[in-house]
């Protein structure tokens, strides 16, 4: 498999006119090394200023590492090289809280709600001085969060916790959302709910999404970036990718039958590559 994205693999007609506008995020030659492991080895891709760009790949190829590098959460022992730019601004070496205040919303893997705090407190934490928190927007998407304000976040179901994690980020205006595996471990019905919400969110703010569930990818994503072994293996139109049985099979390890299955909770992990993204 080719390590870099080859121009020949790109489907030129697939890019919509909108996506040809200036990208919201440029990642150039990004390398991340964490305690000796060279997890990313020169990753370059762009994120379109509208819609959902999905970051795909088998387990352990560095999808989460990429998102965390963008938001400045590479562990202190890690080393990041390359360039990450949002517009003209370089994001590298800036503290996470500054990046987030600058309009980078991050919904981490495994949701990471504060289990000991109430739902209302989890939301209150995301409020910022000088701006009016958009509770209307959040409660319109997730009326459940309004009703469960006094409940401890730790006692919410997985789906509700995911709603809270997304709602927390939507309390402020963002220029780009990074969303890491939002449907992981959720029941099929809840997966659909989360996908619906992300679809609505993506109408107003671009999203860089890491997602293993190809049914969700098919529904949401316009552009796709596929990582393999710490490098970009393919970029282009997401639907194009999912239609190419050979491609999905070689890059993601699944056949298109799994893609088409309506309740596909595709397990992309093959036991041979069960290494976690994070050490």
């Amino acid at each position: 498999m080719s390590a870099r994205s080859e121009p020949g693999l790109r489907a030129p007609q697939s890019r919509t006119e909108e996506a040809q506008l200036e990208p919201i995020l440029n990642v150039e030659d990004l390398s991340v090394r964490i305690s000796g492991l060279h997890i990313l080895q020169g990753v370059s891709f762009t994120v379109a200023p509208t819609g959902v760009t999905v970051l795909l790949g088998r387990n352990g190829v560095g999808k989460t590492t990429t998102l965390r590098a963008i938001v400045g959460l590479t562990p202190p022992a890690g080393e990041v090289r390359g360039a990450i730019r949002m517009g003209a601004r370089s994001l590298l070496a800036r503290p996470t809280h500054r990046l987030v205040r600058g309009g980078l919303g991050y919904v981490p893997e495994d949701r990471c709600v504060f289990a000991g705090l109430t739902v209302a407190e989890n939301l209150r934490l995301a409020e910022r001085r000088g701006t009016t928190p958009a509770y209307d927007r959040v409660f319109a998407l997730f009326p459940e969060l309004d009703r469960r304000g006094r409940q401890r976040a730790g006692s919410l179901s997985g789906g509700q916790q995911q709603m809270l994690a997304i709602g927390r980020v939507l309390l402020n205006d963002n220029r780009l959302l990074l969303v890491d595996e939002p449907t992981k471990g959720l029941a099929p019905k809840v997966v659909t709910e989360v996908a619906e919400v992300l679809e609505r969110v993506a109408e107003s703010v671009p999203v860089l999404l890491v997602e293993q569930n190809l049914a969700v990818v098919r529904r949401l994503a316009r552009d796709a970036v596929v990582l393999a072994a710490g490098r970009v293996a393919w970029t282009g139109d997401a639907r194009e990718l999912l239609l190419e049985t050979g491609l999905t099979k070689s890059l993601l390890g699944v056949g298109s039958a799994e893609v088409r299955a309506p309740s596909a909770r595709s397990e992309l992990a093959s036991p041979a590559v069960a290494r976690k993204d994070q050490p």
Partner: protein, 296 residues
């Protein structure tokens, strides 16, 4: 009966002292993952600050409002030192555990040496209001007022810290940060400000422990902080790192066990029992009484 009550109340007085030191240690460790061996220094600064102010600060003295002023000066000095230690020594070393331990251990040694060099190694009589030397009869026991003052102060500090954690924005940030610091920064919050604040709170509580411990023991000496710190660490581990309420429970247990066993058993056996208690808790419930949650 009188003996039991006396032992209970003096045990609680000791517990109050432990709690004042441990609450700050616990929050600092829970939020910032810093094992602060220099925490005893804040206690020493509080004690000597109060002692110095009572003799030298205009308006301050050893009785009435002058004494309150002297204690306030001591607490302010301890808080200031805690903030400086965080800003200058700890902040460049976050996530470098070994270096932190070395710096704080070194600082605690240097601090004690500095206090000794300035005011001598011997214990000095502590200025205290006359009423704290007297005893109050409670259910047939003659309880020293200094101990009661400590219990009252610790209860107030506990209430104040809990109210702060529960009702203020920074309290919310601290509780969230104890749970998952990284996620707090991912919500756009500069968590390092909360670190400084937690050091300040811990420094203030420890300095108050120093001042009121001086009242309780009647003397002040450079090494006082160090010996208290060991038991405060035990209290923090038993109570659960990061939990103020856990520290309060653990302080009461440790204080009472120590007092009762030292009285009814051999003197010194109580200290060993406390270490045994620590071992039992670590084996049965390694996360401590309250686990890693800054409960409010």
């Amino acid at each position: 009966m009188g003996t039991v009550i006396l032992l209970t109340l003096t045990g609680l007085g000791l517990a109050a002292l432990y709690f004042l030191v441990a609450s700050g240690l616990s929050l600092v460790f829970g939020l910032a993952d810093v094992l602060n061996f220099a925490h005893g220094l804040f206690l020493g600064v509080g004690a000597y600050g109060t002692w110095w102010a009572a003799g030298n600060l205009p308006g301050a003295g050893s009785d009435g409002f002058g004494f309150v002023l002297a204690v306030a000066f001591g607490v302010a000095a301890g808080t200031l030192v805690a903030i400086l230690v965080e800003l200058v020594l700890i902040r460049p070393l976050y996530s470098r555990t070994i270096e932190q331990v070395l710096v704080t251990v070194g600082l605690s040694l240097a601090g004690v040496a500095l206090l000794q060099a300035t005011w001598g190694a011997d214990a000095r009589p502590f200025p205290r209001p006359d009423w704290t030397r007297q005893v109050t009869g409670i259910l047939g026991a003659q309880v020293p007022n200094g101990g009661l003052l400590l219990i009252l102060a610790a209860a107030l500090v506990l209430g104040a810290i809990l109210a702060f954690l529960r009702w203020t924005r920074y309290g919310l940030v601290i509780r969230a940060g104890v749970e998952n610091r990284e996620m707090v920064t991912a919500l756009g919050i500069d968590v390092r400000k909360a670190f400084t604040l937690v050091f300040a709170i811990g420094g203030a509580a420890a300095a108050l422990a120093g001042a009121l411990g001086g009242v309780y023991f009647g003397t002040v000496s450079p090494g006082q902080g160090g010996s208290l710190l060991i038991f405060a660490f035990i209290v923090v581990v038993i109570g659960g790192m990061g939990s103020v309420v856990g520290s309060a429970y653990a302080a009461v247990v440790v204080g009472l066990v120590q007092q009762f066993v030292n009285y009814y058993g051999t003197s010194g056996l109580g200290d060993i029992c406390v270490v045994g208690l620590l071992a039992v808790v670590l084996l049965l419930r390694p996360q401590g009484i309250a686990g890693k949650v800054a409960t409010a």
